[in-house]
């Protein structure tokens, strides 16, 4: 049993100091996954939501499994829920926007995309253009450094599938880099179409 799993098993008893150690040992990875899979603005909220779910589920955690992959799969699920929520909201907003452009031409509620201010921001910008499954596979293996098998456990797919997603993500990113400027985001495309 690895150190983190031992900590998770001990934290089941609800001792705040042990819970704090578990959080301290994992918060960076959780935050980082949220920031890469969703965005940096919401990462803090998503990390908190993750820990609420983690400690609710902890009584059912079994020591035969790895605490790290268990925790990261909950983190990923929280992120997926958020992305789904956004898609729903965007659909609704698009409907509303269609009405309001008819009434009030030129009215635009879109926020400008946050500027990529450093190296990490640039990488994140690139990754945000990948389809979700490839992005998950790429972030888990390249940025968090997980094996294909562990990433497969988190994404609930075979390790081989992770391998091909990583390869395709690499292809996409190489293409995006070769084209120089990052691909236009969906938001920009929509904004231009509305002008």
């Amino acid at each position: 049993m690895d150190e983190l799993t031992r900590l998770a098993v001990q934290a089941r008893r609800g001792e705040p100091s042990v819970m704090a150690s578990f959080i301290r040992a994992t918060q960076r990875e959780v935050y980082s996954l949220c920031a890469y899979l969703v965005d940096e603005d919401t990462a803090e909220d998503l990390a908190q939501e993750t820990y609420l779910r983690v400690f609710r589920a902890l009584p059912d955690f079994r020591k035969e499994s790895s605490a790290r992959t268990w925790l990261l799969s909950i983190t990923r699920r929280v992120c997926m829920d958020e992305l789904r929520r956004r898609i729903r909201r965007r659909r609704r907003e698009t409907l509303v926007a269609e009405f309001s452009t008819e009434l009030n031409a030129g009215f635009n509620t879109d926020r400008p995309a946050p500027a990529a201010d450093d190296d990490q921001g640039e990488v994140r910008e690139l990754l945000s253009q990948l389809p979700e499954d490839r992005r998950s596979a790429f972030v888990l293996t390249q940025i968090l450094g997980l094996s294909y098998a562990d990433a497969g456990d988190i994404c609930q797919c075979p390790a081989g599938t992770i391998g091909s997603r990583v390869a395709r993500a690499r292809g996409d990113l190489i293409q995006a880099l070769e084209r120089g400027a990052p691909r236009r985001t969906e938001k920009e495309v929509r904004r231009d179409a509305m002008d």
Binding site: P16, M19, A20, I23, R24, Q27, R28, Y31, S32, E44, A47, Q48, Y51, L52, V54, F55, R56, A57, D60, F61, R62, K63, E64, S65, S66, A67, T69, W70, I74, D118, D119, Q120, V123, T141, Q142, I143, S147, Y148, A149, G152, D153, I154, Q156, C157, P158, A159, G160, T161, G163, V166, A167, R168, R170, G171, D172, L173, I174, Q175, L177, E178
Partner: protein, 234 residues
């Protein structure tokens, strides 16, 4: 190795490392990508090595993939503030808010353990001794015992892991419903008395407790992640 129709190959383009629709290129890049990550799946087979020697697109791709991988791995991780205190406070607040709900479920679980024990105790004479009333043949009594043991096992399983409550309910609902309906009909027909049927109240209680548990928040699945998928990897 996959056989590709030579007439289906695309016309040569200047090598840019762009992804192509070519199966050979896709297989080679998947293998290269895995190699970059120190994974052995998919393996660099002889056919792939041959393809890499011949294909200028894949050679460029390999180089770009190498650069990309290095760049991503060298990306400086931002220093994040330690938010342990806030996170722990949020978790503890959440847990105390959920405390009453949790104690209901804990009670339901212990109740199911009790129901299982009572069920086993009641059915013991039928199962072991074949005694279930003067009119019931010994073998029929044992078979009756077997079904009741199954019900008790269902209660225990759900008590140990509440996520099983829904599955157990599937079995307990028809069994309990029939028991109650038959008890009423047979009492009306004078085949039995309500007093003789009181042991079935255990089944009713078990059913109610299973229902309570199954209404519980469906927590995150327990910590075992899908090991089976690993065996199926390929």
């Amino acid at each position: 190795m996959r056989w590709t129709n030579p007439w289906n190959r695309r016309a040569p383009e200047p090598p840019t490392g762009q992804p192509t629709e070519d199966d050979d290129c896709a297989a080679a890049r998947a293998a290269l990508s895995a190699q970059l990550d120190g994974e052995s799946e998919p393996p660099l087979t002889e056919a792939i090595t041959e393809h890499l020697a011949d294909c200028p697109y894949c050679a460029v791709w390999q180089e770009s993939a190498h650069r990309l991988t290095r760049r991503v791995r060298l990306t400086s991780a931002r220093t994040l503030p330690d938010r342990t205190t806030q996170l722990l406070a949020a978790v503890l607040a959440d847990q105390s808010a959920r405390q009453p709900v949790r104690s209901v479920y804990r009670l339901a679980r212990w109740g199911l353990v009790g129901a299982a024990a009572a069920q086993l105790l009641i059915i013991f004479p039928a199962l072991i001794l074949g005694e279930a009333g003067a009119l019931v043949p010994a073998h029929a009594a044992r078979e009756l015992g077997a079904f009741n043991v199954a019900l008790a096992v269902g209660y225990l399983a759900a008590a140990l892991r509440p996520s099983r409550a829904r599955g157990a309910l599937l079995l307990a609902v028809p069994a309990t419903a029939l028991l109650v309906v038959l008890a009423i009909i047979d009492t009306a027909l004078g085949e039995t008395t309500l007093v003789a049927e009181t042991p079935h109240l255990v089944a009713v209680a078990g059913w109610a407790l299973l229902w309570v548990l199954s209404r519980g928040p469906q927590e995150e699945p327990p910590g075992r992640v899908h090991r089976r998928t690993r065996a199926a990897a390929g």
